[in-house]
Subunit: 478 residues, 2 copies
């Protein structure tokens, strides 16, 4: 095929993969839920090479699929099963840290840098890159940017969007936009980086970014507590924010069912408090000074909470090892759930104040469909982000007559509750191919029309990760 | 005129102003530098009324100029002198605080709310709305959003953009986009609010917003120090960030010339340290707990700085009154400068690490044009934002043969230095009409083309605040 020859001439033969065995890791997602065909996988080494690939593919009318670590939970990074096979642009060879400016608290990195590598480089310079999430050992910063990745640091440091100062992007017409600003203030027209953050590769290919760094916290206090209810957990959050707002860096809630699954299925995990308590919260304070002060502050708030009946029990980590052990319980959630059965995970966010009501109403909505179905949950409570998980054992799931329809029905019922409370059906995972139908149902038409207009403006041929992120355009009613 | 009759029928006669005396405060900026004609000023009371005004004006082919508190420094909020007279849409009647959700740390406000009113409402609920700037007693939140206003809280809390959760916007076609999300996480397609933040009213009219609130700091420590050089001030910033990164809420530098002007021209101001020191920095730490701890931390860093030769002298405020007095010196800069003469203020930002070099090179560039011209400066040093001010006495300025050309030449020379160091010619004031020519010179053509494309997409008739923000479109070279 002519395009492949062209790409080989441009990048070198070793950077254009066409063998089935080479494509396998790129055409299927890591959970094995989505797969499609690709024309080839290219591995450019420079921004100019990416631009060349884009120009060649667009001239040939072939779709372009940018790919990072392929860790999407929504099938956003693999080819369409039904569409024409795209050129997959793997960013794995563009993994240089171009520079780090400690005094400016910024670093410039190529899109293929693995998140953990970036975190480590920042730490080596006495700085923090604040985005942290389960896939950090393999996900790439380009994918983080394309999906505006969230994680456990959002409460204090925001999403990926909030940690980006500038971008370099290859646009669908092959032009390179050098927007690698490294400024804290820049009011010169539209802030275009926000167009590409969260666009899931539908508007071009992010090739590099300037990241915002923070002072590296050196003091930590971690507690595990059992509030009697989500409402009590919310009140405790308020007390902690009032007392230690600037130090509060994590506020993660799981319920007893979720804790039990981790204990049953992940070797070596121990419960900081017994799962006889229905609700569990991990709290972390961190700062650049005063570990004893943090511990004192945490103890004072826990004491206050106990007096008000907001905490039934609590334990404060007294060593780095204990802190790590508490976090390991939290981080073992995905592994435990995968082993224990099939979770119909949603990625809801509601206003933080609405979380207790959301849990109550979503539980009722699910039980109206399947009475008594077990539900577990894990929540970034400080962000109002609840992964609400109706949960089947493997056997029960296999026995269902129409699994796919049931999964969609249950998740949609939960999303309806979130929506009614001013919430969203995708807080941090993005849309990919899984949620385009929810987009069509929940997004205001005015908003969808604006998004379609921008897509059409930048990618008139609809060649960049087509049919992802947006539902098909409907003609305007007027 | 038919449009005016239509608007009167829609809004009521008292909400459509046409008398010259009523228009005066709307057609000229507060410094008296820019003025133009207006067809009328309308004062809608609801989002639906704004949409009605927009539809009527667009149908009549009349430009639309949204206006907040009219405090722009760049002539962004008054009509073009040369253009057809617009309908000015004053937001002053839309000033309701619609709701405040303390547990969610958010509030929903209409665009005409004055910034100080919002700050007070947040404080009454034990929360902080973190944007703070000189005009806060009269500027409106809608204008803050349209210009992505900065100010003195950016170092810790970011610009206006970083403090917005959602927007309600009347689009140029009269559609209302209800994007009043109040979520910390929402990854459902393009984050459209960022299109309108900083767009200076060229893409529609912001009618309401959901604001992000923070825990209210109750403990403060403020110091005034004299570092021997900007480089030393920068090193002190690094020490402070390493030691108290989460508490550092202001780092403002002025030079001796600027301090002297304040002392000479603003009654009641006293120098915390004598202006025999060439450089002065105001540092603020704030937190939700532990005033003594903050004071101790500040003292420890000052001590460290003194030992390393980074601070020649320093004084720590020992009471709320002393803190306020130090801040008053900083806040008296504009008043002092207005009385003392004519300052050719720029609004440069460079990477924080490049500030010392910027000051040196910009000084040389100005002196290459006018040898020995006095230069004063006031900098949000923590943000890399330097208001670099070549300064004429009133008499010297009046004696210049071509004042306007000289002003432009000197400012452009400073902007060139900033640009060469990776900086920007508008950090926090925006573009308005003053800086469109700098946009044309400094912005990459790819970036300008994207902005023009989006403007054309949303406002095909070029009726919304025309000829502001963007220079005229040039046809693509290809």
């Amino acid at each position: 095929m002519q395009l492949i020859d062209q790409l080989r001439a441009m990048l070198g033969a070793d950077a254009v993969l066409t063998e089935a065995s080479d494509l396998a890791g790129h055409t299927e997602d890591w959970r094995g839920r989505y797969r499609g065909e690709a024309l080839c996988v290219v591995q450019p080494s420079s921004t100019e090479q990416v631009a060349g690939v884009v120009r060649a593919a667009v001239a040939a009318g072939v779709p372009v699929l940018p790919q990072g670590g392929n860790t999407s939970l929504c099938g956003g990074a693999v080819p369409e099963a039904a569409g024409p096979p795209p050129v997959i642009v793997s960013m794995a060879r563009m993994r240089r840290i171009r520079s780090l400016d400690a005094a400016n608290n910024s670093m410039e990195v190529e899109a293929g840098c693995v998140l953990a590598t970036i975190q480590q480089a920042a730490m080596d310079a006495g700085r923090l890159y604040a985005v942290s999430l389960g896939a950090e050992g393999s996900c790439q910063i380009g994918g983080n940017i394309a999906t505006n990745a969230g994680g456990t640091g959002v409460l204090r440091y925001g999403n990926t969007r909030d940690n980006i100062l500038g971008l370099e992007v290859v646009l669908p017409d092959g032009d390179i936009w050098n927007g690698l600003y490294r400024l804290r203030k820049n009011n010169t027209g539209l802030d275009l980086k926000h167009l590409f953050i969260g666009a899931e590769g539908t508007l071009g290919i992010v090739t590099a970014a300037t990241l915002k760094l923070h002072p590296l916290p050196t003091a930590h206090a971690v507690a595990w507590m059992a509030p009697p209810s989500p409402a009590a957990a919310l009140e405790m959050l308020g007390l902690l924010q009032a007392a230690c707002g600037a130090q509060l860096s994590a506020y993660e809630m799981i319920d007893a069912g979720q804790l039990q699954i981790v204990l049953d299925h992940v070797p070596g995990r121990r419960a900081p408090l017994p799962p006889t308590h229905k609700w569990h919260v991990l709290v972390e304070l961190s700062d650049t000074r005063g570990e004893q002060e943090l511990t004192d502050a945490m103890q004072a708030v826990l004491q206050q909470g106990a007096e008000r009946g907001l905490v039934d029990d609590a334990v404060l980590a007294s060593s780095g090892a204990q802190r790590a052990a508490m976090w390991e319980v939290r981080h073992s959630v995905s592994e435990g759930n995968k082993k224990a059965g099939v979770g119909l995970t949603t990625d809801t966010a509601v206003p933080v104040s609405a979380v207790p009501e959301f849990i109550e109403r979503a539980t009722a909505a699910v039980h109206a469909i399947v009475p008594g179905l077990p539900i577990i949950l894990v929540a970034h409570l400080g962000d109002g982000n609840v992964h609400f998980i109706p949960f089947y054992s493997h056997a029960e799931w296999e026995a269902l007559p129409d699994r796919e329809a049931m999964g969609l029905r249950i998740k949609h019922a939960v999303n309806e509750v979130g929506h009614a409370l001013g919430g969203t059906f995708s807080a941090e995972h993005g849309i990919g191919q899984t949620l385009t139908s929810e987009m069509a149902q929940f997004k205001p038409p005015v908003e969808l029309a604006l998004m379609h207009g921008i897509k059409q403006l930048l990618d008139p041929g609809n060649l960049f990760n087509p049919h992802r992120l947006l539902p098909p355009a409907t003609p305007p009613a007027r």
